[in-house]
Amino acid sequence: MPMNLKTIRHYHAAYSQLDQKLFDRKIKLAVLTSYTSDFILPLLEVDLMQSEIRAELYKPHFNQFRQEMLNDGSGLYAAQPDITIVGFNIEDVFPIFESDPSDIAQEVLGLCESMIRSYRQFAAAKSQLFIQNWIAPIHCYDPLVRTEFSIARLIERLNRELSALAGKTPGVHVLDYARVAQQCGLERWTDPRTYYTARIPVAQEHWIALSQFYAAYIRAALGMDLKCIVLDLDNTLWGGVLGEDGIEGIRLGESYPGLPFRRFQQYLLGLYEHGYILAICSKNNEEDVFQVLRTHPSMALREKHFAAVKANWREKAQNIQEISGEINISIDHMLFVDDNPVEIEKVKLALPGITCLQIESPPLNFVRQFQELRCFGKLHLTSEDRSRGRQYFDDRQRREFKQTAGSVEDFYQSLRQRMVVYPNYQEHVSRIAQLSQRTNQFNMTTIRLTESDVVSMMGDPAYLLLTADLSDRFGDSGTIAFIQIRRSKEVWNIENFLMSCRVLGRTVEETLINYIFNRAAADGVFSVEAAYLPTKKNAPFARFYLSNGFEPAGENQYLKRVAEHKAAVSFIEIIEHEMRLENVG
């Protein structure tokens, strides 16, 4: 429910609603700081409530963070947090002004390292840790040219090293406090009145910004990012109306009034490069639109950047629904961007669950409006993210090819598909975690895994984790399936089977079932069991195991004897990645 949350008072008024609301998601959130955090926590709870997240807070008295983090028996670990945020001012903990900066750097990083180690040891594997980076204290002398003795230089260095440190451990991230302070304005970040009298390091005018920043990190950690941006064209990607002004008349270029549109496209290109999918939904003639996409000299976005292009005169809601079907991204994970409030209202009404952004003319603030949404908060970038846009474009070509192919078999044959299966492949750890977080439809049990979950399973000889890469004549689809199998001598249990919906209808799932049974047979296994746990999203695949020859075996369980498996028809050449990694495990 949208609320008017412009001031701290509004937040506190909204706070009382927390107990009257039902929430989809509940998390346990620990906040450990070297300073007072009471000023920010109620705001954060309200911001999370806006995202349908109820946070149960654990917050020890200030400056207890070291003991809490380092001791196995601390209240922190007893509270079993899903997410922990640690924020400390260096000057609260170390004699930064009275020591050699390089000694302090060692101590600070050493502390961070031990906190990370303890956390990974004592907290649940799927629990995530954020460590806040730092800004120079307000009372540090900052020469015009920073020297090796200046504390500001020390902070710069520590921030770089903290990023490197966090990047090394799954489930540990930097919370970029320095950035939010910079964005708000370092000059007025701290109010000496509240800092010196109440140990509140942030001026009240920035509390809301900081709270929203925290909330964005938490949403990202919970995998709540949006995935796809559906864009209008006229007065959105360029100024003017293509149908009236023509390709020469639209505003787009290196000078005003075309410049803000070009810059907005460049901003979107940045999102594309980070794995977010772009699509077009516009009331226009398709031919004209492709002409602009292909030939306009100032377009930063080109045909290849779009997973779907709907330029026609139908209702936008219908087009968006079709896009959702074609690219297999649910409406809940889409952002619709349009300048026309009527279109926005119609889409909202027809497609509940979609996120909408009405960009407001003049176009100068498009980028800021987008940033303020905070719906695209990537915590780390995988190689899949980098190639995702290209893969969706390949899929578009495949769809067009399918329409020209004769029979379905012809189509499969002519695709020349090739699959590589990887058993317990360590380089796929982050991709597995990402797939398990992002896949909602073809996901048999919807067990969400973090990177640390995956690592610990790979270290357990009972587990066989399979990943599969798919490629064909149109390109490489990357890692598209993940299967989690728990093995005993006689029985294998498929605890989860998930697949990217982009490759549905290409016999991938049948090929993988064949592969599992071949392997199971080679290991002398008697039967394979499998679980299906229904959710709102995976209902279309409720009969997946039945249609692959499994029989019901108790609630949500299926079973098939290895001897009874008959290989299903597959149009995919399968290659097994080298096995050596599995045996090291």
Partner: protein, 77 residues
């Protein structure tokens, strides 16, 4: 002015506005603790466009004191 102050205090201390009177203070109103004190003062500053001193942030702990501080404060620039 008084009603606006009462509303701010009610919002922050999670009380019904009817419970916040001219005689309310940090000693007799539930929820008016040291954290609420800071929140009340920064909200008053925001709403009325005034700035208090560090001392005032902690000593203006009753409706009465806030009203008189605001009456004495120079008009916002």
């Amino acid at each position: 002015m008084l009603d606006k102050i009462r509303q701010i205090i009610a919002d922050i201390t999670q009380n019904d506005i009817a419970h916040v009177t001219r005689d309310s203070n940090s000693g007799n109103l539930s929820g008016w603790d040291s954290v609420a004190q800071i929140n009340i003062i920064v909200s008053i500053e925001q709403e009325f466009g005034v700035t208090f001193t560090a001392e005032e942030m902690h000593t203006l702990n009753s409706v009465e004191k806030i009203v008189s501080a605001l009456s004495a404060a120079p008009a916002p620039r």
